[in-house]
């Protein structure tokens, strides 16, 4: 397969199609609109469904409906639109259904701005909607990963029967890079035993539901789901380790912030500072073990993120007070420069030395 040049948003769409997704429901919003536009163009040609719903709330509930039939389905939006979808996402999680939700983040809160941000970290990783639940949250850092993690998101959602979210940002969505797309998978015709597809009067009917009025029954459902979440946490945490072998300091960053941080790590190395980078690829499950291990070896850690400090809480929990954890952040659509990260690394080195 040769590489093609694509925008991150388009790579998600093409990868979803190649992963056997034939149902897309959405509503336009910057900076993810290219994704919907791509689907609008392609889906009618491959016997798929592209539907621009009347609102984000309608779109996520259409996703809920298709997910109930066991077919691969997705929606995409950006921060304010994802907030609107939260009720539906909670219902899908409460019904143990698989789907893929894409959030190409922009600055908030409220209507915020349209420039890149990572400030929906809490919303994505800590539930987002009401009730006790998790999403599998994947954080692409390149156009290649926009494609790869879309495919992975569908697979993991199907495997664990829970919604997966691709948590991208405006930069990765808008940029073009060479990307190698995976082979096209045939659309699965497998009948899921739990899916609502008509009984043909041959079996008991299936019910897709998140309502359990008996508290003991609802408690049981919640505990079962938490057993599943434990399995996901044990098996699915992913991260990239960069120059960590002999590192005395550790930068932790994901998405576009990790790209900027890589430049800063290389620059710091040139100045003789032994620093490395851990880039979480899954934000939930968070790569706790990798962070804990690093915390046992280094003198200090630095969280670089486009929020006023959200992922840093998970880093601190995993590091368990072993080392100081500092923050380097820009928000509202601004992105730190490699120099700003380098300065924060130097501050960390100075502070930890005292």
């Amino acid at each position: 397969m040769s590489k093609v040049l694509m925008k991150g948003n388009e790579a998600i769409a093409e990868s979803a199609i190649r992963s056997g997704c034939r149902h897309y429901f959405g509503y336009p919003i910057t900076p993810q609109t290219e994704l919907a536009a791509y689907m609008a163009k392609r889906m009618p040609k491959i016997n798929g469904t592209f539907l621009q719903a009347e609102s984000e709330i309608a779109a996520i509930n259409m996703v809920y409906g298709v997910a109930g039939t066991g077919k691969r389905v997705m929606t995409s939006s950006s921060s304010p639109g994802i907030s609107l979808k939260q009720e539906g996402i909670s219902y899908i999680a409460g019904s143990d259904l698989p789907c893929l939700i894409v959030n190409v983040q922009r600055g908030g809160p409220g209507l915020g701005g349209i420039q890149p941000s990572q400030s929906d970290y809490f919303q994505a990783t800590k539930g987002g909607g009401h009730g006790d639940y998790h999403l599998i949250v994947l954080a692409p850092s390149s156009v290649q990963e926009m494609a790869d993690l879309t495919a992975l998101g569908f697979d993991l959602a199907d495997k664990y029967l829970m919604p997966a979210m691709l948590l991208a940002d405006g930069t990765i969505g808008q940029m073009m890079e060479p990307v190698e797309l995976g082979e096209e998978k045939a659309v699965s015709t497998e009948k899921k035993p739990w899916a609502v597809t008509g009984t043909e009067m041959k079996r008991k009917h299936n019910i897709v539901n998140s309502l359990y009025l008996a508290p003991d029954e609802l408690e049981k459902k919640n505990f079962e789901r938490y057993e599943k979440y434990k399995t996901v946490e044990e098996n699915e945490a992913r991260y990239e380790s960069f120059m960590m072998e002999d590192a005395e300091y550790c930068v932790v960053a994901f998405g576009i912030a990790a790209r900027v941080s890589k430049n800063a790590v290389v620059a710091a190395r040139k100045e003789g500072i032994k620093v490395g980078l851990i880039r979480p690829i899954t934000l939930w499950p968070f790569p706790k073990k990798a962070i804990a291990e690093a915390a046992g070896k280094v003198k200090g850690m630095l969280s670089v993120e486009l929020s006023t400090g959200q992922m840093i809480e998970d880093i601190k929990l995993a590091a368990n007070c072993a080392v100081p954890v500092e923050l380097c952040c820009r928000v509202g659509g601004m992105i730190m420069s490699p120099d700003e990260v380098l300065n924060s690394i130097k501050k960390l080195v100075g502070g930890a030395g005292k």
Binding site: Q174, M175, K262, N263, P338
Partner: protein, 176 residues
């Protein structure tokens, strides 16, 4: 080697297209590259810029803050980005639209009356490609071989009749 390029001007001048051409040329040469547009509510007449990074190694940040090569097609862009260029870098100025010279002495400046040349050659929308032709010749950011292949790739299906004129614009820039 890594080259960080920033192209800036008004919306409608083909700033993003010029960057896309370099990106596609880089792709054909098998190099690492990234192309990042400024995006926003801008439209024709507003400001537009794009960051292109070409490298022989995997690319870290796709955001160009201190370019090696700056291409400017309006005065606000020269005012805004002149001081951001790395010492020893290169600035390409569309001198038919920008009436001042580059103030810095630690960079190389080239002045190309691209918009005038484009008008004179009956290709008023291709000043961007004239600028890019000159950039490729002076900086060697991509090879001058296989220009046609890259033009074929980037000119959309419904504008196939514009391939020749794009190539001609690149040539005018190269030869200026």
């Amino acid at each position: 080697m890594t080259t960080e390029i920033l192209i800036a001007g008004f919306g409608g001048q083909g700033i993003l297209f010029a960057g896309k051409f370099l990106a596609n040329k880089g792709l054909f040469e098998g190099r690492s590259l990234s192309w990042l547009p400024s995006y926003g509510p801008e439209m024709r007449g507003g400001t537009a810029n794009c960051s292109v990074v070409l490298s022989d190694e995997p690319i870290g940040s796709p955001i160009v803050t201190n370019p090696d090569v700056l291409v400017v097609m309006n005065l606000p862009s020269l005012d805004k980005y002149e001081n951001a260029v790395k010492p020893g870098g290169t600035i390409f100025v569309d001198s038919s639209l920008i009436k001042r010279e580059v103030k810095r002495e630690d960079v190389t400046a080239y002045y190309i009356p691209a918009t005038r040349l484009a008008n004179e050659n009956n290709m008023p929308t291709l000043a961007n490609m004239i600028m890019i032709g000159k950039v490729i010749k002076e900086c060697g950011v991509v090879s001058t071989d296989g220009m046609e292949e890259a033009v074929n790739k980037i000119v959309s299906a419904r504008h196939q009749n514009l391939k020749e004129i794009n190539l001609k614009a690149l040539k005018i820039g190269e030869e200026y």
